[in-house]
Protein backbone atom coordinates (compact mmCIF):
# COMPACT_ATOMS: atom_id res chain seq x y z
CA UNK A 1 0.00 0.00 0.00
CA UNK A 2 1.17 3.50 -0.82
CA UNK A 3 0.86 5.72 2.25
CA UNK A 4 -0.46 9.14 1.42
CA UNK A 5 2.01 11.60 2.86
CA UNK A 6 0.70 14.92 4.04
CA UNK A 7 2.74 17.87 5.22
CA UNK A 8 1.72 20.40 7.78
CA UNK A 9 2.35 22.21 11.01
CA UNK A 10 2.61 19.52 13.64
CA UNK A 11 1.73 19.92 17.28
CA UNK A 12 1.24 17.69 20.27
CA UNK A 13 -1.31 18.08 23.01
CA UNK A 14 0.02 19.65 26.17
CA UNK A 15 0.23 17.37 29.21
CA UNK A 16 -3.19 17.00 30.80
CA UNK A 17 -2.08 18.33 34.19
CA UNK A 18 -0.68 21.47 32.59
CA UNK A 19 -4.00 22.07 30.84
CA UNK A 20 -5.89 21.55 34.10
CA UNK A 21 -3.61 24.08 35.77
CA UNK A 22 -4.17 26.60 32.97
CA UNK A 23 -7.94 26.46 33.32
CA UNK A 24 -7.91 26.18 37.12
CA UNK A 25 -9.36 29.62 37.75
CA UNK A 26 -11.97 29.54 35.00
CA UNK A 27 -15.51 28.28 35.38
CA UNK A 28 -16.68 28.49 31.78
CA UNK A 29 -14.22 27.05 29.32
CA UNK A 30 -14.49 26.47 25.60
CA UNK A 31 -12.27 23.92 23.88
CA UNK A 32 -11.88 25.15 20.31
CA UNK A 33 -10.64 22.66 17.75
CA UNK A 34 -8.96 23.62 14.51
CA UNK A 35 -9.79 21.81 11.27
CA UNK A 36 -6.44 22.61 9.65
CA UNK A 37 -3.01 21.02 10.05
CA UNK A 38 -3.53 19.85 13.61
CA UNK A 39 -6.53 17.82 12.53
CA UNK A 40 -4.38 15.95 10.03
CA UNK A 41 -1.71 15.17 12.64
CA UNK A 42 -4.48 13.96 14.98
CA UNK A 43 -3.88 16.42 17.80
CA UNK A 44 -6.19 19.40 17.56
CA UNK A 45 -9.18 18.65 15.38
CA UNK A 46 -12.84 18.34 16.25
CA UNK A 47 -12.54 14.78 17.51
CA UNK A 48 -9.56 15.50 19.73
CA UNK A 49 -11.22 18.67 21.03
CA UNK A 50 -14.26 16.55 21.93
CA UNK A 51 -12.09 14.01 23.72
CA UNK A 52 -10.17 16.65 25.66
CA UNK A 53 -13.37 18.42 26.67
CA UNK A 54 -14.78 15.15 27.93
CA UNK A 55 -11.60 14.50 29.91
CA UNK A 56 -11.69 17.99 31.39
CA UNK A 57 -15.31 17.59 32.45
CA UNK A 58 -14.53 14.26 34.09
CA UNK A 59 -11.47 15.60 35.92
CA UNK A 60 -13.39 18.69 37.02
CA UNK A 61 -16.21 16.57 38.39
CA UNK A 62 -13.77 14.24 40.15
CA UNK A 63 -12.27 17.22 41.95
CA UNK A 64 -15.74 18.37 42.98
CA UNK A 65 -15.39 21.64 41.07
CA UNK A 66 -17.99 23.65 39.19
CA UNK A 67 -16.98 24.19 35.60
CA UNK A 68 -18.68 23.96 32.23
CA UNK A 69 -16.52 22.80 29.33
CA UNK A 70 -18.02 23.19 25.86
CA UNK A 71 -16.60 22.37 22.45
CA UNK A 72 -16.57 24.03 19.08
CA UNK A 73 -14.39 23.69 16.01
CA UNK A 74 -13.42 26.04 13.21
CA UNK A 75 -12.26 25.15 9.72
CA UNK A 76 -9.03 26.98 10.53
CA UNK A 77 -8.04 29.32 13.33
CA UNK A 78 -5.54 31.25 11.23
CA UNK A 79 -7.88 32.86 8.73
CA UNK A 80 -10.45 35.60 9.19
CA UNK A 81 -12.60 33.92 6.56
CA UNK A 82 -13.55 31.13 8.94
CA UNK A 83 -14.66 33.22 11.92
CA UNK A 84 -18.22 32.70 10.72
CA UNK A 85 -17.68 28.99 11.52
CA UNK A 86 -17.94 29.75 15.21
CA UNK A 87 -21.19 28.33 16.53
CA UNK A 88 -20.80 29.81 20.00
CA UNK A 89 -20.52 33.28 21.47
CA UNK A 90 -16.97 33.58 22.80
CA UNK A 91 -18.08 36.16 25.35
CA UNK A 92 -19.91 33.40 27.20
CA UNK A 93 -16.60 31.91 28.26
CA UNK A 94 -13.98 32.87 30.83
CA UNK A 95 -11.29 31.28 28.69
CA UNK A 96 -10.89 29.49 25.37
CA UNK A 97 -8.52 26.57 25.12
CA UNK A 98 -7.39 26.64 21.52
CA UNK A 99 -6.31 23.40 19.89
CA UNK A 100 -4.67 25.30 17.02
CA UNK A 101 -0.97 25.83 16.40
CA UNK A 102 0.75 28.85 17.93
CA UNK A 103 -0.10 30.94 14.89
CA UNK A 104 -3.78 30.07 15.23
CA UNK A 105 -3.89 30.88 18.93
CA UNK A 106 -2.28 34.26 18.31
CA UNK A 107 -4.48 35.03 15.33
CA UNK A 108 -7.61 34.40 17.38
CA UNK A 109 -6.14 36.31 20.30
CA UNK A 110 -5.52 39.33 18.06
CA UNK A 111 -9.04 39.16 16.65
CA UNK A 112 -10.67 38.71 20.05
CA UNK A 113 -8.31 40.39 22.53
CA UNK A 114 -11.02 40.60 25.18
CA UNK A 115 -11.10 36.80 25.34
CA UNK A 116 -8.49 34.82 27.29
CA UNK A 117 -6.85 32.37 24.88
CA UNK A 118 -4.93 29.40 26.19
CA UNK A 119 -2.81 27.01 24.10
CA UNK A 120 -3.92 23.39 24.27
CA UNK A 121 -1.03 22.25 22.10
CA UNK A 122 2.71 22.60 21.93
CA UNK A 123 3.44 23.48 18.32
CA UNK A 124 6.42 21.37 17.47
CA UNK A 125 7.50 21.44 13.84
CA UNK A 126 6.77 21.57 10.12
CA UNK A 127 6.77 18.07 8.83
CA UNK A 128 4.92 15.25 7.26
CA UNK A 129 3.35 11.94 7.98
CA UNK A 130 6.02 9.33 7.26
CA UNK A 131 3.91 6.30 8.06
CA UNK A 132 0.63 5.66 9.89
CA UNK A 133 0.88 7.39 13.25
CA UNK A 134 4.34 8.88 12.71
CA UNK A 135 5.10 12.49 11.85
CA UNK A 136 8.60 13.80 11.31
CA UNK A 137 10.15 17.23 11.04
CA UNK A 138 11.55 18.14 7.64
CA UNK A 139 11.38 21.91 7.35
CA UNK A 140 12.65 24.58 9.72
CA UNK A 141 11.27 27.53 7.76
CA UNK A 142 14.83 28.86 7.67
CA UNK A 143 14.06 31.39 4.96
CA UNK A 144 16.82 30.30 2.57
CA UNK A 145 15.96 26.95 1.00
CA UNK A 146 18.79 24.73 -0.18
CA UNK A 147 16.75 21.75 -1.38
CA UNK A 148 17.71 22.42 -5.02
CA UNK A 149 21.28 21.18 -4.49
CA UNK A 150 20.76 18.76 -1.59
CA UNK A 151 18.67 16.27 -3.50
CA UNK A 152 15.42 17.51 -1.95
CA UNK A 153 16.55 16.60 1.57
CA UNK A 154 16.82 19.40 4.11
CA UNK A 155 20.05 19.54 6.10
CA UNK A 156 18.83 22.49 8.16
CA UNK A 157 15.86 20.62 9.66
CA UNK A 158 17.12 17.07 9.43
CA UNK A 159 20.75 17.37 10.48
CA UNK A 160 21.18 17.68 14.24
CA UNK A 161 23.76 20.39 13.67
CA UNK A 162 22.02 22.01 10.67
CA UNK A 163 25.27 21.63 8.78
CA UNK A 164 25.42 22.58 5.14
CA UNK A 165 28.77 20.91 4.61
CA UNK A 166 28.13 17.48 6.14
CA UNK A 167 28.56 14.78 6.93
CA UNK A 168 30.22 15.47 10.24
CA UNK A 169 32.42 13.01 12.10
CA UNK A 170 29.40 11.69 13.95
CA UNK A 171 27.78 9.95 11.02
CA UNK A 172 27.45 6.27 11.80
CA UNK A 173 26.53 3.83 9.04
CA UNK A 174 23.82 6.14 7.78
CA UNK A 175 22.61 7.14 11.25
CA UNK A 176 23.22 10.23 13.35
CA UNK A 177 25.46 10.01 16.40
CA UNK A 178 22.68 11.76 18.30
CA UNK A 179 20.34 8.81 17.92
CA UNK A 180 20.32 5.52 16.11
CA UNK A 181 16.69 6.18 15.23
CA UNK A 182 17.66 9.25 13.24
CA UNK A 183 19.01 9.06 9.72
CA UNK A 184 22.12 11.06 8.93
CA UNK A 185 20.58 13.36 6.35
CA UNK A 186 23.98 14.07 4.81
CA UNK A 187 24.40 10.38 4.18
CA UNK A 188 20.99 10.38 2.49
CA UNK A 189 21.89 13.48 0.50
CA UNK A 190 25.13 11.86 -0.67
CA UNK A 191 23.37 8.66 -1.70
CA UNK A 192 20.60 10.47 -3.52
CA UNK A 193 22.94 12.74 -5.43
CA UNK A 194 25.12 9.73 -6.29
CA UNK A 195 22.06 7.94 -7.70
CA UNK A 196 21.30 10.99 -9.81
CA UNK A 197 24.89 11.36 -10.93
CA UNK A 198 24.95 14.79 -9.32
CA UNK A 199 27.69 14.45 -6.73
CA UNK A 200 29.40 17.44 -8.35
CA UNK A 201 26.74 19.56 -6.58
CA UNK A 202 28.61 18.92 -3.36
CA UNK A 203 31.93 20.00 -4.82
CA UNK A 204 30.67 23.46 -5.72
CA UNK A 205 31.81 26.34 -3.56
CA UNK A 206 28.86 28.10 -2.00
CA UNK A 207 28.64 31.46 -0.31
CA UNK A 208 28.26 31.43 3.48
CA UNK A 209 24.66 31.05 4.55
CA UNK A 210 22.71 34.12 5.53
CA UNK A 211 21.31 33.04 8.87
CA UNK A 212 19.63 36.42 9.32
CA UNK A 213 16.80 34.98 7.24
CA UNK A 214 16.32 32.37 9.96
CA UNK A 215 14.93 34.62 12.72
CA UNK A 216 18.21 36.53 12.85
CA UNK A 217 16.44 39.79 12.10
CA UNK A 218 13.40 39.26 14.31
CA UNK A 219 9.83 38.68 13.20
CA UNK A 220 9.64 37.69 9.57
CA UNK A 221 6.95 38.94 7.25
CA UNK A 222 5.75 38.07 3.77
CA UNK A 223 4.37 40.99 1.80
CA UNK A 224 2.75 40.76 -1.61
CA UNK A 225 2.86 44.38 -2.63
CA UNK A 226 0.12 44.05 -5.26
CA UNK A 227 -2.25 42.73 -2.63
CA UNK A 228 -1.34 45.46 -0.14
CA UNK A 229 -2.30 48.13 -2.71
CA UNK A 230 -5.54 46.33 -3.47
CA UNK A 231 -6.42 46.21 0.20
CA UNK A 232 -5.58 49.88 0.57
CA UNK A 233 -8.01 50.85 -2.18
CA UNK A 234 -10.76 48.79 -0.63
Amino acid sequence: LMWEWASMIVGERKPFDEIMEMIASFERVLVLGCGGCVTVCLTGGEKLADLLASQLRMATKAKGLERTVDVDCMTRQCDREFISNLKVDLKQYDAVLSMACGAGVQFMSDLFPEVIWLPGLNTTFLGYNRSPGVWEENCRGCGDCVLAWTGGLCPIARCSKSLINGTCGGTNKGKCEGSNDMDCVWYLIYERLKTRGKLNELRKMRAPRDWRKDRGAGVRRLTHQEMVEQEGKA
Partner: protein, 81 residues
Protein backbone atom coordinates in the same frame (compact mmCIF):
# COMPACT_ATOMS: atom_id res chain seq x y z
CA UNK B 1 -15.23 9.49 21.95
CA UNK B 2 -18.12 7.16 22.73
CA UNK B 3 -15.98 5.24 25.21
CA UNK B 4 -15.08 8.34 27.21
CA UNK B 5 -18.62 9.60 26.94
CA UNK B 6 -19.93 6.48 28.67
CA UNK B 7 -17.69 7.13 31.66
CA UNK B 8 -18.52 10.80 31.67
CA UNK B 9 -22.19 9.91 31.92
CA UNK B 10 -21.66 7.67 34.90
CA UNK B 11 -20.91 4.19 33.60
CA UNK B 12 -19.10 2.02 36.17
CA UNK B 13 -17.31 0.26 33.37
CA UNK B 14 -17.25 -0.38 29.67
CA UNK B 15 -16.49 -3.65 27.89
CA UNK B 16 -15.34 -3.54 24.30
CA UNK B 17 -15.95 -6.84 22.54
CA UNK B 18 -13.99 -7.89 19.47
CA UNK B 19 -13.18 -11.07 17.59
CA UNK B 20 -9.63 -12.43 17.72
CA UNK B 21 -7.04 -10.76 15.53
CA UNK B 22 -6.86 -12.34 12.11
CA UNK B 23 -10.42 -13.60 12.25
CA UNK B 24 -11.99 -10.20 11.80
CA UNK B 25 -14.07 -9.42 8.76
CA UNK B 26 -12.05 -6.26 8.10
CA UNK B 27 -8.32 -7.02 8.16
CA UNK B 28 -6.52 -5.14 10.90
CA UNK B 29 -9.72 -3.94 12.57
CA UNK B 30 -9.16 -5.91 15.79
CA UNK B 31 -5.67 -4.51 16.19
CA UNK B 32 -6.97 -1.01 15.62
CA UNK B 33 -9.70 -1.48 18.22
CA UNK B 34 -7.16 -2.85 20.69
CA UNK B 35 -4.94 0.21 20.22
CA UNK B 36 -7.89 2.57 20.50
CA UNK B 37 -8.85 0.95 23.78
CA UNK B 38 -5.29 1.49 25.02
CA UNK B 39 -5.51 5.14 23.97
CA UNK B 40 -8.71 5.63 25.94
CA UNK B 41 -7.23 3.78 28.93
CA UNK B 42 -4.37 6.29 28.94
CA UNK B 43 -6.90 9.12 28.79
CA UNK B 44 -8.84 7.68 31.72
CA UNK B 45 -5.61 7.46 33.71
CA UNK B 46 -4.95 11.13 32.99
CA UNK B 47 -8.25 12.15 34.56
CA UNK B 48 -7.77 9.88 37.57
CA UNK B 49 -10.11 7.06 36.53
CA UNK B 50 -8.81 3.52 37.00
CA UNK B 51 -8.14 2.30 33.43
CA UNK B 52 -9.21 -1.21 34.48
CA UNK B 53 -12.77 0.08 34.30
CA UNK B 54 -12.40 -0.19 30.54
CA UNK B 55 -12.15 -3.83 29.60
CA UNK B 56 -11.35 -5.37 26.26
CA UNK B 57 -12.61 -8.82 25.36
CA UNK B 58 -11.34 -10.63 22.29
CA UNK B 59 -13.71 -13.58 22.18
CA UNK B 60 -16.67 -12.58 20.05
CA UNK B 61 -16.08 -15.43 17.62
CA UNK B 62 -15.23 -18.19 20.08
CA UNK B 63 -18.62 -19.51 20.99
CA UNK B 64 -21.15 -18.80 23.66
CA UNK B 65 -19.34 -20.43 26.58
CA UNK B 66 -16.04 -18.68 25.91
CA UNK B 67 -17.83 -15.41 25.45
CA UNK B 68 -19.74 -15.81 28.70
CA UNK B 69 -16.56 -16.64 30.62
CA UNK B 70 -14.74 -13.66 29.14
CA UNK B 71 -17.59 -11.32 30.03
CA UNK B 72 -17.82 -12.63 33.59
CA UNK B 73 -14.08 -12.11 33.95
CA UNK B 74 -14.29 -8.58 32.52
CA UNK B 75 -17.17 -7.65 34.82
CA UNK B 76 -15.28 -8.91 37.85
CA UNK B 77 -12.24 -6.85 36.84
CA UNK B 78 -14.43 -3.78 36.56
CA UNK B 79 -16.03 -4.49 39.92
CA UNK B 80 -12.67 -4.73 41.63
CA UNK B 81 -11.24 -1.66 39.86
Amino acid sequence: MELLSAFEHGADGVIVVAGHAGGDRYPGATERVRRRVEQVRAMLKEVGVNPERLQYVEAADQGRAAMRAAMVDAVSRIASA
